[in-house]
Symmetry: C2
Subunit: 564 residues, 2 copies
Amino acid sequence: MRSDMDISRSASLQPLADIAARLGLTPNQWRLYGSHKAKVSLSAIPEQTDRPRGKLVVVTAVTPTPFGEGKTVTTIGVTQGLQHLGQKVCACIRQPSLGPVFGVKGGAAGGGFSQVVPMEDLNLHMTGDIHAVTSAHNLAAAAIDARLHHETRMGERFERQTGLKRLNIDPERILWRRVVDHNDRALRQIQVGLGQGNGPEHENGFDITAASELMAILALCRDLKDMRKRIGQVLLALDVDGKPVSAEDLGVAGAMTAIMRDAIEPTLMQTLSGAPCLVHAGPFANIAHGNSSIIADRIALAHADFVVTEGGFGSDMGFEKFCNIKCRQSGERPAAAVLVVTLRALKANSGLGDEASSQEKLAAGFANLAWHISNVQGYGIPAVVAINHFAEDAQQELLWLKEQALAAGAFGCEISDAFSLGAEGAAALAAVVLKATAQQSEFKQLYSADDSFGAKLMTLAERYGAAGVLMSPEADADLAELTRLGLDKLPLCMAKTPLSISHDPALKGAPRGFELPVRRLRVSAGAGFITVLTGNVMTMPGLGPKPGYLAIDIDDDGQIVGLA
Amino acid sequence: MRSDMDISRSASLQPLADIAARLGLTPNQWRLYGSHKAKVSLSAIPEQTDRPRGKLVVVTAVTPTPFGEGKTVTTIGVTQGLQHLGQKVCACIRQPSLGPVFGVKGGAAGGGFSQVVPMEDLNLHMTGDIHAVTSAHNLAAAAIDARLHHETRMGERFERQTGLKRLNIDPERILWRRVVDHNDRALRQIQVGLGQGNGPEHENGFDITAASELMAILALCRDLKDMRKRIGQVLLALDVDGKPVSAEDLGVAGAMTAIMRDAIEPTLMQTLSGAPCLVHAGPFANIAHGNSSIIADRIALAHADFVVTEGGFGSDMGFEKFCNIKCRQSGERPAAAVLVVTLRALKANSGLGDEASSQEKLAAGFANLAWHISNVQGYGIPAVVAINHFAEDAQQELLWLKEQALAAGAFGCEISDAFSLGAEGAAALAAVVLKATAQQSEFKQLYSADDSFGAKLMTLAERYGAAGVLMSPEADADLAELTRLGLDKLPLCMAKTPLSISHDPALKGAPRGFELPVRRLRVSAGAGFITVLTGNVMTMPGLGPKPGYLAIDIDDDGQIVGLA
């Protein structure tokens, strides 16, 4: 079988000017960044237009397994399938983080004949947006420690000599960690400011950039002014009296915005079939809100008739946040969801061991799909199940699954050969998606912004199947603090394992009756949500014992090899 | 007076295609990155050509002061001046680090009417090369700690389960620190791997990216294969038996190279007069080798008749390393040096206080210029002194200085109005540079590669004016280690204060008879030099009490303000 990289490299790419024209962009609305990428200006979002806005389709999945279910393959597949059916369509996906690229899977550009190309451009720096987020984030961290250092060192002289107001940051209550776009376990918890003249010493740590609040802001803001305002609101620390210290207070919000100014423009690339794809922002869906940007969606919806986007991981993760966080902020109403499933994933989700037959595993694992269908429907939109087809799949299992999915309430169910056949392999799926989007969206969020923190949390927990919620003393204290700061009414961004609908990766299928533990709360005042850390969710992954980077190199022609 | 940013923003930029054509590049040799930047392919370096190679002019300066002497202004000034005289010329400069941009001076694109534009593109991410260096560097750091973690955790099982050979890295002898492109004092010395399951715990720290060996490799390599090989040679750690562990041993060199693949291409921009400028790599000259890339020089020398580049800080710093490290590796022979001086800098270099008259200070400070003239001449090339003119300069002091400079052996001396008048203000200076380059270069390095470490060090120390060298016990141990590893014969990269010809910023003018202390040695096996840390040189700057970022913001039009 040809590798994704082989297929990507042997593809004859279309001039990006053709791709931009296909999306309906005028030449002054985009600028090339290298041969096959372009930054799209926010001027591509019209203030007023007679054109009906496109329909938004969100791709989600059953509970993921280590095998990969092919969600991005299906997102690109549906895009290419709709294009094949003569529709004007645009995909909107996230920029991959280098952490997973070098850690595990080697690439996140889709695969087979449903890819965004060139895949190495997408998987490595693209146009530098993630680096900009990292840089802006770490400038704030450096600024906090520098201010602390000088106020401590200069004492009473500080205000007189600098003309700046003392902030009196409490070194034990710095809320802003640092970020790096790698899987770096050793940086999870560190002690900084050691050594003569480098203090005050205090505990700190690094998250992966995908977990940065600035990444969430990039994905959620409407325009540059909104981004500037949100960055100013970011809560960096508390002072010795417990009062909040924001990026605005520290005077660093303008510089942070300047660093991210170009990052606000989505990057236009193409699928293997020449469909436009806007790539923008990259929050993870387990430790962050897991969706590409509102700005990219707005550009795409203004120009295309169909916009296909995806939320990370299962429908309990990225899709939930798509509905309750992203659409709440953007005001968009998705027309339909595509729910990706594989036979292999359902069997793995059964929790059954080798003693069970393939059919037994599939039947048991189906409960997981049924939960996800019902979850999607709970948001008032039709769920189209896409069975991502693998060569080894048994025909009768595929037929059984299709029947069961429809019986469980799916609007439609189609087998997708997007990976092996590209656009044609996803045409049947795309036709059902077309039909699903023809009806009026009755989209609704799961909870109201006015609900209390406890009510919001309980609504989500019950949806997962939990019998109750167990707040740790630290989480209770965090909530008291948030309430004191007037920030307790924000929507929730659940940080939990993607490997179960619950908080516990060992609970397979559609678990019920468990107690959802809440370890800590973190507020993202600029992004506009409260992150709820359940179980032992890591905001910084680690490299495994045999990491993906081992395979990656350049060949004699200077081409990158080993990315997938 | 108009700000640099105002001048930059109101400039009518020429299409980059015109700039590329002016340099003689064919359209397949460059790719746009945004409207006003282009990556230039290494295919622009011809294997063979009938065309005579251009002449290389290196710009250096007297001992710098906090006021700024205008070295980049003069580099761009001479470039624009040569263009004004009808010459085919290209400037080659470094990419500015974000550390100083947000820390101190707000920009490093030249100034006034001798700038590289757009200045905010140059000063912020440009085409992302520095971010790529940061990312590649930190991938290696994460890889070291992950390997250490898994070998420790898995014990005997490691080799069996991964198929990889144990490296047995000694956590106390990890030589690879981490990097960030900010001034972040609190990260100078840190403890990593704290907390359950994140260890082994050990001391580490961050340098600024400009000090990364990968930045030096980017600046010194000849092509992608050479870069790949050098990255493989980078010494990351010692194992428990004291044997070296390289990036190749860790299997991470290929991935690091992949991250830096696009960074190897210099970025083409333009000066305010429309002269081509290649911007590439950004090692500092105090803690690293302080020069832009060999690749950029090679591209420029292949196409232009004159190439104007600069070494960081005074001629004891970047210029020395230009000659003894960069030219040793590239084989290039500079035709002339331009030595930038200001009246203000010489007075500050006098070490005299307010009790002395202006003329007394100038006379005393002149010893500094005399040293730099003689230093340049010691390399066998003519020194053209450029007096960077400020409005407040007294005419008679300017004339006195010009006379003295010629008497001290300068090939020529001209007053430069490059800042206020652009190309015309530097035309007289450029004419003298033209004359200086007309003679045959008798360029020679200061020491031979075969000299022992001690002999090389003594040669440099004597040139500074030192009576001797004092190696710390740690430095002696470092040297013994380097000798054991067979790496003691590499050229030296002196890490010292730029604020004195000596190691001590308090020693002004042209100090003599001091003892040069050597604190530690660090080897850069891939870059090919030994860094000699003198005094208390910091490889990570800190933000001051009133840092530059306070002024930086975006305005209502989304333009960046406050950069200079």
